[in-house]
Assembly symmetry: C2
Homo-oligomer: 512 residues x 2
């Protein structure tokens, strides 16, 4: 058993069964080990950002890490943006990055570059293996670190020569449970909620099913509002879930949003900060006068904390969960509202909705509140190009659920290669491309900053027209059947057809 085999066997023993791979010469012993030590499914991606985004999506749905297999520093570099999103999602991910043979490193060969430095910018745990016999143990440590609550990115760098030298299996540690909730904070939160004029702000694991149920009990018992962080890694929504309001993106929206609230209990969520430091705005979105009451942090058991608060309040089981009342099918003109209605009307039960819709997704959140029950994943770290890869990984984690990839056109183009992996693996993903043919958010920013008439550079750098991108051709080029919808009726027909069939489909939705 060589080092590569010991690593792959240890990964399998630690429960890993998928590897999103884009290997090169320095990773070939690891590729061979996937054959000689079977049990881990290799999934080829055409670009490393697809590997890392897929590993993030997989982790959000499966609750366990996948491997990525990346080629030296430049391969890792191509995967960093989606690892940034995974870091913000607290997704457990284990990157394997090959490196030059230890005896070759000093030569500064063409592909040599710093790997640890860039890896540290996204990883909670980084190690370069020093000994072939420790490769199994290094992998076991990488998995344990990735699973440390609330979850993080681990990067293990494996020199080529160590992969081929004799290795040995390693013990796999039992995952650590999240820290139990703090009794005093439970009492303080219950007390604050009893005083009224309160919101319960949910983030991270506090947005998962069990925690949401406890939050619903609390809201019904105290009348508090339930708020969600703006870009959650994963939450459960639709029929049977409580009404949770999404915290606004733009600071100017916060004053009316928070009207009447004097205290905010934070469960798995941070005190909300602005996405950007806009001129004339401030970092913290809630004014100083609002009382913050911390209940649980990201590495703690928010579900247990919320249940304890609900019990302290003697709250009965929730009764006011959302009914199943999706939007009616839209007809006629196709705009963001009609698009949202179509998704609400047709969303399959237990679908996974990956939302990188950007400005086109503004209407979606409200429209899905009473749609079929579903899991919703969002762009946690703001590094665009996460949607298509994330949907790819979610589909591999959940082969029995439809995945809806709700995708802004500009963002989708960063990692469009994900479509090919969806075709190759016959993944049940329906991609809805919101084609407004602009970096619309930047046009909004120009408007917000008072630019009424942008000049030619600003117009050129925020427009995706000239030439318009033909998403149907792109999808077909990658092997995904595709169609275009130019009115709401056409969209409904296309979406019905796509959802009725297994396998990947893409619908380009032309928005005015």
């Amino acid at each position: 058993m060589n080092g590569a085999e010991s690593l792959i066997r240890t990964a399998r023993a630690a429960g890993i069964d998928v590897c999103f791979a884009n290997p090169g010469t320095t990773e070939m012993p690891l590729v061979l080990a996937l054959d000689s030590a079977p049990g881990i499914r290799p999934v080829l991606c055409l670009f490393e950002g697809v590997c890392t985004g897929a590993a993030d999506g997989f982790a959000r749905m499966a609750g366990r890490p996948a491997l990525t297999l990346l080629h030296l520093g430049p391969g890792l570099a191509n995967g960093l943006a989606n690892l940034h999103n995974a870091r913000r999602a607290h997704s457990p991910v284990v990157n394997l990055v090959g490196d030059h043979a230890t005896w070759h490193l000093a030569a500064d060969a063409p592909l040599a570059a710093d790997i640890e430095g860039p890896a540290r910018s996204v990883s909670g745990w980084v190690r370069t293996s020093r000994d072939a016999r420790s490769l199994g143990a290094d992998l076991a440590d990488a998995v344990a670190a990735a699973l440390r609550p609330p979850g993080q990115v681990s990067t293990l760098i494996v020199p080529l020569d160590l992969q081929s030298a004799p290795g040995q299996l390693a013990e796999v540690a039992k995952p650590v449970a999240p820290a139990p909730p703090d009794e005093r904070r439970i009492a303080a939160a219950a007390d604050a909620l009893r005083r009224g004029a309160a919101a319960l702000m949910l983030g991270g694991s506090a947005l998962r099913a069990e925690a949401l149920r406890a939050a619903a009990r609390i809201a019904e018992a105290t009348g508090c509002r339930l708020w969600a962080e703006t870009f959650p890694a994963r939450t459960e929504r639709g029929a049977g879930t409580p009404r949770v309001e999404r915290f606004p993106y733009f600071p100017e929206q916060v004053t009316s949003f928070r009207a009447g609230v004097e205290r905010v209990v934070l469960a798995g969520a941070r005190d909300p900060v602005a996405f950007f430091g806009w001129p004339g705005s401030s970092t913290h979105l809630l004014p100083e006068g609002i009382e913050r009451v911390p209940l649980s942090e990201s590495g703690e058991d928010s579900a247990q904390a919320l249940a304890a608060v609900a019990d302290a309040l003697s709250a009965p089981p929730p009764k006011q969960l959302a009914p199943f009342a999706p939007s009616p099918r839209p007809s006629g003109r196709l705009d963001a509202a009609a698009l949202a209605a179509a998704v609400s009307a047709l969303l399959p039960e237990h679908a996974v909705l990956v939302d990188e819709g950007a400005t086109s997704g503004a209407a979606l959140y409200a429209a899905l509140a009473s749609a079929a029950p579903h899991s919703a994943l969002s762009l946690t770290g703001g590094a665009i190009g996460q949607g298509l890869p994330c949907a790819t990984g979610a589909a591999i984690a959940c082969p029995d659920r439809k995945v809806i990839s709700f995708q802004a056109d500009g963002s989708g183009l960063y990692t469009v290669q994900a479509l090919w992996t969806q075709a190759r693996e016959s993944l049940d993903v329906t991609t809805i491309v919101c084609a407004n043919r602009a970096y619309r958010i930047l046009q909004v920013e120009l408007h917000r900053s008072g630019v009424a008439e942008p000049g030619p550079a600003a117009r050129s750098l925020t427009s995706l027209a000239g030439p318009a991108i033909d998403w149907v051709s792109l999808a077909q080029g990658f092997g995904v059947p595709a169609t275009r919808a130019e009115d709401a009726d056409g969209l409904v027909r296309a979406l019905e057809r796509a959802l009725a069939e297994p396998g990947p489909r893409l619908i380009e939705v032309i928005l005015g």
Copy 2:
């Protein structure tokens, strides 16, 4: 004048006239400054790796830096792989990376990430601006650093609030000339070459026109062989250039290649090291017994050094330069040899050939030795996905020259979004996709390492079939007219047509 305008005006004063941009909210004042301080052409790219690869290609052909405009840490991360190639090419590139407002940094907002760390992995110069009034001076320093011989990547990080605060223009420094050659090394090199059994190994600026002419004089006077580093940033080839042999990629090819050579004079080239540390192989490709004679290093004036050696040898002007004798047009079966012949037969005079053909390009080097005179750019750093962006930048640098983008299919898929920029800017690029539908180099590596029958994982992770990628659809999706060639006659017809028309074209060449 705000900080952003002072920066853009200073850039213009320093001779910069192109900005390859993929901006976000934190770069909008810089975008607006491109309008209020005109003279720099904004070129939108759909992915940051296209921006950085284009800036590299632009620098190789224009000899001066372009700006890139990138969005925070994740935007820079997406551009790192091609900056790695630019670093290896010694291309002057000036990256502008926006950052959060200084007063917002501590909030750790979703997009916050380390920028300087990853920037240092590819940049010779990194600075985060601290004062709006220094933005112009910071930019001037960035340009001066980028142009410091032999050229390097500069990264300037510009917080959002400083872009909008009052700025001031800065003085632009005169570029520093490369160091003059060392007299003792010139004498030693001439002496070594006189002794015979010598090769003159050329790299970096020693592969440019003037230096090649001096090298030709030396070779004709002494009988030495002329060798080129395997992956030069830029060289001049075809009719009128001397015969220069390309140093082999695989170590096992070196013994016969170097037969009869006892000493190697290094001009702008390093002592050749293996691309990877293969088992049983060694780092240095030439045995210890071969005498190394350093003539010039990468920051020195290799053309002047070679001319001085030629003068010391009293070498007359060269007479044995390559005639114009392109390959005949191929017919029938389409393989790598026929493909190379077609390019040789039809290559326009003074074309720019960007070669990321990988295994499909093996026959190309020999076939182009007597083709029309052209500039050839190659993949300096081994980070694949460089070809299409590099061709894009080269076309912007040289609007009067045809650019031929000779592209392996696997590599091309990393940054396929470059095609859209070619369409938007109506660039005169003909892309030839070598569609062998495999990561063929990895299949070669499996074979070299003795794996006769790869298992399912190794087969899956090295094959791009299932489904075959339809490059014609991809190109059309990005607005580039495209066609497919399945035999040599069809390729010749398609290439003739593409070269006869201005604007971007793509030909997918199906290789067996």
